[in-house]
């Protein structure tokens, strides 16, 4: 037998639920935000270049890249870094010898990302990035290939 939710009950339960949710929200704000950053290489070739042991990207990421307006058939993982950032702090994350990303956690799901290539700031962007979402920066590379820096929020 199901208990009927009367208007009086609702007055008690919903505010209680909201208070609990608010507590969780306050707690979440204080926690570190966890990210994964990937350096990827896009090509129409089915194999990575000779002498490079790049692995194909994870299926989940491959699927998401497939949905973007990108022409390349295959994506290989050149590097991957897991890191966490506290609110208000900027984390510098090297992803290759020439390239790094600086990630600053602003508020809630917001962050500021700066891509630095050969010591120069290439792009700076403020972006809302809730858990599970991805920010992809990319450009053309030689021989009709492409590079991508993919930032994924995991927590």
């Amino acid at each position: 037998m199901r208990t009927k939710l009367t208007p009086a009950n609702r007055l008690v339960w919903f505010p209680t639920l909201l208070v609990l949710l608010a507590c969780v929200a306050v707690d979440a704000q204080a926690a570190d935000a966890k990210f994964q950053v990937f350096l990827l290489w896009g090509t129409d070739d089915s194999k990575p270049p000779e002498g490079k042991a790049y692995k194909p990207v994870q299926p989940e990421i491959r699927q998401k890249l497939k949905e973007l307006p990108l022409k390349w058939a295959n994506w290989f993982e050149v590097n991957r870094v897991d890191f966490a950032v506290q609110q208000g702090v900027t984390k510098e994350v090297p992803i290759s010898a020439k390239c790094q990303v600086n990630v600053k956690k602003l508020a809630d799901s917001e962050l500021e990302l700066c891509l630095v290539g050969k010591g120069k700031e290439v792009v700076k962007r403020k972006q809302s990035l809730p858990k599970g979402e991805m920010l992809v920066l990319g450009g053309n590379a030689p021989n009709s290939t492409a590079w991508l820096v993919l930032l994924k929020r995991i927590e």
């Binding site: 208007p7 609702r10 007055l11 919903f14 505010p15 909201l18 208070v19 608010a22 929200a25 306050v26 704000q29 350096l39 290489w41 270049p49 490079k52 998401k64 949905e67 973007l68 307006p69 990108l70 050149v78 609110q87 208000g88 290759s96 010898a97 020439k98 390239c99 600053k104 602003l106 508020a107 809630d108 917001e110 500021e112 290539g117 050969k118 700031e121 290439v122 792009v123 700076k124 962007r125 403020k126 972006q127 809302s128 809730p130 599970g132 979402e133 991805m134 920010l135 992809v136 920066l137 990319g138 450009g139 053309n140 590379a141 030689p142 021989n143 290939t145 590079w147 820096v149």
Partner: protein
């Protein structure tokens, strides 16, 4: 007729048969009337198809079609505000009105007490400050993915480098 031979005949017609095999198929064609008839049938079908697409025209006028394309391009390039969900609004009205005052107080408390050293407005979902003026942004709301395509590294810079240019 041997099926493999039939496929080879087709490959010969399409210019995809290696030279080494072509003479054997040509010899077979010269001796076998049925094979020659099949070649004629395949040729006729190819000939019939040759002009098919030339007669097909877009049924919409240049201006009308372009206006649709242009509107869609502009819509995708402008990050749209997410529309409010009607069922959620209905639910809100039905069940949460009595709790709204309490919720508002809690949410206001959370927002006012939040340590925000940056001073920027959280409501602004995306804000770009691009050093690369040639960049463009594509947002897939359903997948939760944002793509920023950059003109970096410049073509000349890329040409001087291996594989991934200035990034790797």
């Amino acid at each position: 007729m041997d099926y493999d031979k039939q496929l080879k005949l087709q490959a010969l017609l399409d210019g995809e048969l290696p030279e080494a095999e072509a003479s054997a198929v040509a010899q077979w064609l010269a001796q076998d009337h049925e094979a020659a008839a099949l070649r004629e049938e395949l040729r006729n079908t190819r000939g019939a198809l040759a002009e098919f697409e030339a007669g097909i025209q877009m049924p919409e006028s240049r201006e009308f079609f372009w206006s649709k394309v242009q509107r869609e391009i502009e819509r995708l390039e402008t990050p749209a505000a997410k529309p409010a969900s009607a069922p959620f609004s209905a639910l809100w009205r039905r069940f949460l009105v009595p709790a709204s005052a309490v919720a508002a107080l809690i949410i206001a408390g959370v927002v006012l007490n939040r340590p925000d050293s940056t001073g920027h407005t959280p409501a602004a979902e995306i804000e770009t400050a691009l050093a690369d003026s040639g960049a463009f942004t594509y947002r897939d709301y359903s997948a939760g993915t944002t793509l920023v395509w950059l003109s970096y590294p410049a073509d000349t810079e890329v040409a001087d480098n291996d594989e991934m240019g200035t990034v790797e």
